[in-house]
Symmetry: none
Subunit: 220 residues, 4 copies
DNA sequence: TATGAATGAGACTTCATTCAT
DNA sequence: AATGAATGAAGTCTCATTCAT
């Protein structure tokens, strides 16, 4: 798998080795680490392999990251926050039907998360949360709750505007988000073995049912 | 965390070591292992700790399980299959509204999985699938597909009987199951840090929205 | 390989299990141990396997032998001393040509040692001498020196009687014995891989050359 | 015991740890391993001790050798083949009396093998052959048969040239070599306990008797 | 800055030995 | 007397981390 996140590439551009500058290194390392953490989990991610994929030596890792845990945190921080900002922005700018907005956010998730290596992040967080309480807290507060919060508002508004049925915004937000997160997790766990799995069909179905489930009028 | 699975308890009752209990040992060990695997994941689960929790010595583990991987497989096998059989039975015996059956199955999941340590199993499988392809395949075929299959049939019947909207049974089954699995995973990852999380409220909301989402008539 | 030493058999006569009496046990165990020590060496000889071959449980071993080392010593003691006595007797009774006696002793070695599992003993002693100094000393004093001593006398007499060339008895005895011992060692090390090896042809050649080498007259 | 093999010394000269010496390491490790394997055999050779004697840490061993078995093979390969080549060369260059050549080869064995730690190699092979069939085969084919082969030719030539009695070259070669190998084995097994043992006297006697034994004419 | 050889704590696993039954 | 479940010390091997170069 190759991840293109922003303008980063984890491939080692051997041709331009000499052009590598100090500023690019951390990003390359973190991208390489994302791959390995995602594939193997925290414990089985060997720094030897991260270094190899980043095209550097193991020792060099320690010039940029204090230890394995710091690298792990960097991975989470680096890739997650920009996504949230983007989503919040989109929501803030949106006018009109909330249903449409939910569809758009779902689409964004599909494009930016599921179809890139970023879906590995939720998988790691789930797997490692109990081993990294501090990180888990950080992630919960700064990622999950933030997203949940504006989804909640959005739904509450939808209810107020008569678009959605009466319901608790927080809980409905959870119900909206859980399947999205699940899709990301699935991608990096059992999907590779699940031949029948069709990411898009699944996402569409979930979204459809959710929308049907909270819309006020009948849509048949 | 304490798990009560059937009548097993992982607490160490034996004041005296050197008690011969060939019969009970495997069950005790597997229960202890479930706890540790669930908390720590495969790699960080130390057999020392499993042994301690099972009230035996490390060496004794190897009288019953060839190695760590075998123990892991035993954990998965032991706790999962009975649950499926129970669910299949319930579905087979059920007559009448499919909606009611889905509610009952959800309730069963809540009681037997979420409120026991068994919710740890999906968490382990998600975390370790890529490291244990063989086990992943087994789990997918013998657990997930089996469940998905009868849920799919059930929904298809519901559609045929005019209870549910027109929809693809397989995909709808995925949409029904994903939030349940997600709840189990959540339980063993971020829920401990997520103070607002109310398991029952969440499950109920998801179920409600799902039912609304696939029911034919308006329920308002 | 099956060893028949005296009247012992290491095979487990399951049919007559009930007839096993306390007196027979040690012999059975020691015979089983000879096999395993010979095959695997001291360290890789697992008492589990010795017990299984002896048809008893591991615990029972400890009723008869204090520990692994004691068992090892028992093996050496049990099988070696009788052979020596037999050889000494033969030499004591012999009259006439020493050359003939050497041929007979060689033949006895071939029959009693090389063609039985007893050839394993020298192999073990060689392999384990440095790990068991006490046993090494015992073996050297009570086995090797005793044999060497009467061979030495025998050769010295041969010299005195004009049958053999002038030579040092001790050294000639070593020269006579070394190839015999070597044959035993070979049997349990590289012979199984040495397809061209023909035990009898080798022994005969060695003996021939030795006899030629110390005989006084020309034999051509 | 100290082994001087080529210019290597196993003594730890480096006062300071953390010296980078990729070049010398493998040789030092292998020399240290020769000592320990020779003393203790394969199973009782602790990598801890090898590391200590080589003046490195246990982990460093694994930078150079995949595992204990690989180290064992390296020991055998490293020390044995050069000796053979040397012997073959000597034989190839030799002109004139075969008897003299046999004496020279024996002398070379005494100097290069018996009086260095290399005599440990035959001891190890004998002790471990049955546990390392692959290595046993390698050793037999590439070491023993090679040596036996040119000794055999040499003797056959001696017979043809009328220097030696009529005899089978292969078998005579075995008869010539066995005592040499035996001497090596003895060195690392019972010789340390055998106070009367005089290596040189023994070797000379064996050689003398062998030469006498195959020479055509009478040498008295 | 970058390297990669070196380290050592710590994990899994084995097996001689013990002892309740 | 016999068993075999249980033990725990000890060994091999891994890998995050360090540091001389």
């Amino acid at each position: 798998m190759r991840y293109f996140v922003g303008e980063l590439s984890t491939s080692v551009e051997a041709a331009c080795r000499w052009r590598r500058r100090k500023e690019e290194r951390p990003a390359e390392i973190v991208s390489a680490a994302l791959e390995v953490f995602t594939d193997k989990g925290f414990a089985l991610c060997k720094l030897d392999e991260v270094a190899k994929r980043a095209g550097i030596s193991k020792g060099t890792l320690y010039l940029y990251f204090e230890n394995k845990e710091a690298l792990f945190k960097a991975v989470v921080n680096k890739f997650v926050l920009p996504q949230i900002e983007q989503a919040e922005e989109k929501a803030a700018l949106h006018k009109g039907s909330k249903q449409v907005l939910l569809r758009e956010l779902t689409e964004q998730w599909r494009l930016n998360i599921l179809e890139t290596g970023l879906s590995g992040i939720p998988k790691i967080m789930i797997s490692e949360a109990s081993n990294f309480p501090e990180l888990a807290t950080f992630y919960l507060e700064n990622v999950i709750k933030r997203v949940r919060s504006f989804i909640s508002q959005l739904i509450t508004q939808g209810v107020a505007e008569g678009e959605f049925r009466q319901c608790d915004g927080e809980l409905a937000a959870r119900a909206f988000l859980a399947p999205l997160v699940f899709a990301a997790i699935w991608e990096h766990s059992l999907a590779p073995f699940d031949d029948d799995y069709d990411r898009n069909a699944y996402i569409n179905t979930q979204l459809d049912i959710f929308i049907h489930g909270i819309m006020k009028g009948k849509q048949e």
